[in-house]
């Protein structure tokens, strides 16, 4: 099991609404994530779970509602937004490592440019993090020379280098070959055990069972169900969650 959440709210979404044109992708979403909590967001494609994840660091803007991180409302733009984003780590489905920089430079960029750390200090920390995710020996390669699983672990190290308060994972294993999924999930389980606050959008039910404190089920832009993993997987209350689980678990 993971370390217990503190019960102290870190991320709070209140009445969040978002439209893509006529499409109402997020409808009155309320969600509070406590410090140290691991929340797994699942749901059918098009349910708004990725969009929800991306609103938390304002890669997607919202039309109505409020999002606060550590008590501070998300700024709309500019330096304040950049500063807030630096405290929110993000791991993307397609890794998005900087293609023109080495693995080491990828991990050093944020601390040097945003935190103003010295290169020596940033490099020392970057090498520690790369060792921690098991790609330390690849530090001088460029992203295209690494496998998908390795790239995604570098992406996690890059986010960790900023010492984020919370980490967002937007389908981190969906673009990976099956044999590489576990190496990434292992790193994520390790983070969860260390008490990192995490929001994970995923289809990996095994990860949800092993590492989540809470599972949030979304459908049609709404949060339909929110409960601990055991309750959710064994006795879901909504029909839509039952239907979804029967489709993904029965094979």
């Amino acid at each position: 099991m993971t370390s217990a959440p503190t019960g102290e709210p870190l991320v709070r979404l209140t009445g969040v609404n978002k439209w893509f044109g006529d499409l109402h992708v997020l409808q009155d979403v309320d969600l509070t994530i406590d410090r140290g909590e691991v929340v797994v967001v699942i749901g059918p494609s098009g349910s708004g779970k990725s969009t929800l994840c991306r609103t938390i660091n304002r890669l997607e803007s919202i039309e109505r509602g409020e999002i606060t991180i550590d008590g501070t409302p998300l700024p709309a733009e500019g330096k304040e937004l950049a500063a807030l984003r630096s405290d929110v780590g993000m791991v993307f489905q397609s890794f998005n490592l900087f293609a023109h920089k080495t693995i080491l430079e990828n991990v050093m960029l944020g601390p040097v440019k945003v935190r103003g750390k010295s290169k020596a200090e940033a490099e020392k920390r970057a090498r520690e993090l790369l060792d921690r995710v098991g790609v330390g020996h690849q530090a001088d390669k460029v992203p295209a020379q690494l496998s998908g699983g390795q790239q995604q672990r570098v992406a996690i190290a890059r986010a960790l280098a900023m010492d984020p308060k919370v980490m967002l994972f937007d389908e981190p294993t969906s673009a990976l070959d099956p044999e590489m999924i576990n190496e990434v999930l292992e790193v994520m389980v390790g983070l969860a055990k260390d008490g990192m606050t995490m929001v994970v959008v995923t289809h990996e039910m095994g990860f949800a069972r092993r590492a989540a404190n809470r599972v949030v089920f979304m459908d049609g832009g709404r949060i339909v169900e929110s409960s601990d993993p055991e309750t959710f997987f064994t006795s879901p209350t909504s029909d839509r969650a039952k239907d979804f689980l029967s489709k993904i678990l029965n094979h």
Binding site: R85, S86, F92, H100, K113, V114, A144, M162
Partner: protein, 215 residues
């Protein structure tokens, strides 16, 4: 032939003028064009608008008209620039519009996830542009940028019409003096341009291979 050789000094001076125009205008066009391209993708609407207006005006105005404006128009508002400086400004500001468009196409070719990842780390817009997007954009932009710059080298010939003794101006001057040697004079002029443009093309090719990105 003899007449051509007798005037080789003239050729040398004219060549140096063309080379100088090309270098100074090229630097101006690259710097200004990069700034304009950055403005065109900026989140700040007035900057976007300003850059768009600039690009559309200069791209749709003949270079000769830009020359007229700088050489004869500016003095009307009490801004007199020397002919050579004026020619650099005219060619540089005109070419900047084309440079901006080439670089903008390069910016658009960089995967959106690259900028997203940079923003997610907390980089500001200008940091994202200068450390992540532009370095990758320049790589795809070398070939079209090369064409723009080579076209610019040749466009400096318009300065001939504004009392600047550059290479093309020799055509009229020398062929009037001795029409019999026209062929050699023409060859000399073509050669002078090629001394500038061919090494430039080779250099660009080298740069393209050196910066080729591993994807």
């Amino acid at each position: 032939m003899q007449f051509f050789l007798d005037n080789i000094d003239l050729f040398r001076d004219a060549f140096l003028n063309t080379l100088g125009l090309t270098l100074f205008a090229g630097v101006l066009a690259l710097v200004l064009g990069t700034v304009l391209a950055g403005m065109r993708v900026s989140p700040i609407a007035p900057l976007r608008g300003l850059a768009t207006v600039y690009v559309e005006i200069f791209r749709n105005t003949p270079l000769t008209v830009v020359f007229f404006f700088v050489i004869f128009g500016l003095p009307q508002i009490d801004t007199v620039v020397p002919f050579f400086t004026g020619a650099v400004i005219a060619v540089g500001t005109y070419t900047a519009a084309f440079v901006a468009e080439a670089i903008r196409s390069g910016i658009n070719s960089v995967a959106p996830g690259q900028a997203e990842a940079a923003r997610a780390l907390g980089l500001t817009f200008s940091q994202t542009l200068t450390t992540v997007v532009l370095p990758q954009a320049f790589r795809t932009v070398v070939p079209p940028l090369g064409s723009v710059l080579i076209a610019m080298a040749k466009n400096t010939s318009i300065a001939a019409g504004f009392s600047i003794s550059e290479v093309s101006s020799l055509l009229a001057r020398l062929s009037n003096a001795d029409p019999n040697d026209l062929l050699f004079i023409l060859l000399g002029v073509v050669l002078a341009y090629m001394i500038i443009t061919v090494p430039a093309a080779i250099a660009l090719n080298r740069i393209e291979h050196r910066v080729a990105i591993l994807r």
